[in-house]
């Protein structure tokens, strides 16, 4: 069934695929922090960020369209969140009237800034998750001292989201094969029922899984066997990444 969107990991042999998950997690976090903290008057830096993302995308040997496709699916969310920003004045603002609406210049700038930052951050996250196995990412997080319980929750989510999708699909299939042209209101009632059933099923499944875990000796502690090995190439990559990112940032700030 349709799992591709979540099950996004692509097997690959590129250098990016082989980087240590800790390195990739660090690059992602550091990159996102840098992007988020860049002020508007240092906008030249955004080209640098774009360059870094593109280099990494090129290194991954995954088609750029694959990344863009995913980005396109997520972008509407950012747009929806930020779309009213241009209509609110930011400090002393110059307004322009379009019909009955007024648009503010600072507002538009802010809107653009939010969108550029969000797209860059998303692009980076997509890049990393597409080229890293979920299991390895979780192990990387464990090494970063993310609480084990949090990791367990993420891993359950990852495991059961597919089951949930399948369950919804099966229910939709059962519905579609039995009904044929239902008035909208009745259809809504059916969907409401489906959601309720899904909720109860999920709840009961959760209970059964807990029983299965308990039967296998679970006492609230998560034990894992972690094996990651940091290679020389990882250190080199980390160094290059830091120089590439930090150098220009320092330069930009010194010049101001």
């Amino acid at each position: 069934m349709r799992h591709e969107f979540f099950d996004h990991h692509r097997e690959g042999n590129s250098p990016l695929h082989h980087f240590d998950p800790r390195l990739k997690l660090f690059m992602m976090l550091f990159f996102i922090a840098a992007v988020v903290m860049t002020p508007l008057d240092k906008n030249i830096l955004f080209f640098l960020y774009l360059g870094i993302v593109l280099i990494l995308a090129f290194m991954s040997q995954v088609s750029l369209f694959h990344f863009l496709g995913k980005l396109l699916k997520l972008y509407p969310m950012i747009f929806l969140i930020s779309m009213f920003v241009p209509f609110f004045p930011d400090g002393e603002d110059i307004s322009h009237r379009i019909g009955f609406l007024s648009i503010y210049e600072n507002g538009v700038q802010k809107f653009l800034l939010i969108n550029i930052k969000a797209v860059l951050a998303l692009f980076m996250s997509i890049l990393i998750t597409t080229t890293t196995d979920m299991m390895l990412l979780l192990k990387g997080m464990e090494k970063f001292r993310v609480p084990k319980l949090a990791i367990a929750i993420i891993s359950f989510m990852y495991r059961f989201i597919f089951l949930l999708i399948d369950e919804v699909e099966r229910m939709m299939l059962a519905f579609q094969s039995r009904y044929f042209r239902l008035p909208v209101l009745e259809r809504l009632a059916v969907f409401a029922n489906m959601i309720a059933v899904l909720f109860i099923r999920t709840f009961e499944r959760g209970e059964r899984i807990y029983l299965a875990m308990e039967s296998r000796g679970f006492r609230g502690e998560v034990h894992t066997l972690t094996e990651l090995n940091w290679k020389k190439t990882d250190s080199t990559a980390l160094l290059i990444f830091l120089i590439l990112l930090i150098g220009p940032v320092i330069f930009a700030f010194l010049n101001s």
């Binding site: 799992h3 099950d7 979920m134 299991m135 979780l138 891993s155 359950f156 990852y158 495991r159 059961f160 597919f162 089951l163 499944r205 059964r208 899984i209 029983l211 299965a212 875990m213 308990e214 039967s215 296998r216 000796g217 679970f218 006492r219 502690e221 034990h223 894992t224 066997l225």
Partner: protein, 240 residues
């Protein structure tokens, strides 16, 4: 010592369904016992009571430990249950994690855990699949994997709920061999009476939550009248 001893065991679900009524039986160490009966007769409920997952009324002893709050921990170490639905049993991202979950909780050393996983996979014939995600496996493979998760813990009593349902011939055969060569106490439920003929010596017939008859394979699976009156059929291997 008996592996399982039950006297007047009763269980009702929270919604009031009486799933088990006055179950009394005893199962010896090393016995291989099949629990049969029509759908909804309480087989799965009975199995889940064996390690304290569900708590009923009446007496239940596992290897001499009465089922109670203090003993539940010990009992869970002794009893391994393979649930009917493998999706309830496999909850980790990869098979390796799933199978190592039990041994790690038993605080085994990392090297030993790896060996145990390797062995369990070999036993059920899934060697080389440890890094596959369980949601990428077929139903039969998931069923075998869930058996492996319990096998890796080496419990003294293994309870299998419908181990061969939905399996093809080859996978079913693997499970039959696995049960045959296992020296532990095994209690299984199944609608696959032919499999029971090959693997078990004793059969307990359930209907509507009560034991109708408890006897040897000969006494129950060969008795067409008894089976028919309990919505079951003579095993194919015995039909003329």
């Amino acid at each position: 010592m008996e592996a399982v001893k039950a006297e007047n065991l009763n269980y009702s679900y929270p919604d009031g369904t009486r799933a088990l009524r006055d179950i009394s039986l005893s199962i010896g160490d090393g016995e291989k016992v099949a629990v049969v009966g029509p759908n909804g007769s309480g087989k799965s409920t009975f199995l889940t009571m064996l390690n304290g997952v569900r708590k009923g009324t009446g007496l239940l002893e596992i290897f001499g430990h009465p089922m109670n709050r203090e003993n539940v921990k010990v009992i869970k170490q002794l009893v391994g249950i393979v649930f009917q639905n493998p999706d309830d049993q496999l909850f980790c991202p990869t098979l390796f994690e799933d199978i190592s979950f039990g041994p790690l909780n038993q605080r085994k050393a990392p090297e030993e855990v790896r060996t145990l996983v390797e062995l369990a996979l070999r036993e059920v014939g899934l060697i080389g699949m440890q890094h596959r995600s369980s949601f990428h496996l077929s139903f039969g493979e998931r069923k075998l994997a869930s058996i492996a998760t319990v096998a890796a813990m080496y419990p003294s009593l293994i309870a299998l709920d419908e181990p061969t349902s939905n399996l093809d011939m080859a996978h079913r055969r693997k499970i039959i061999h696995w049960v045959q060569k296992n020296s532990k106490t095994i209690i299984l439920t199944s609608h696959d009476l032919d499999m029971i003929l090959e693997t078990c010596q004793r059969v307990i017939l359930f209907n509507k939550g009560s034991i109708v008859k408890d006897g040897t394979v000969q006494e129950i699976l060969h008795d067409e009248a008894l089976l028919t009156s309990n919505d079951l059929e003579l095993p194919l291997g015995l039909q003329k």
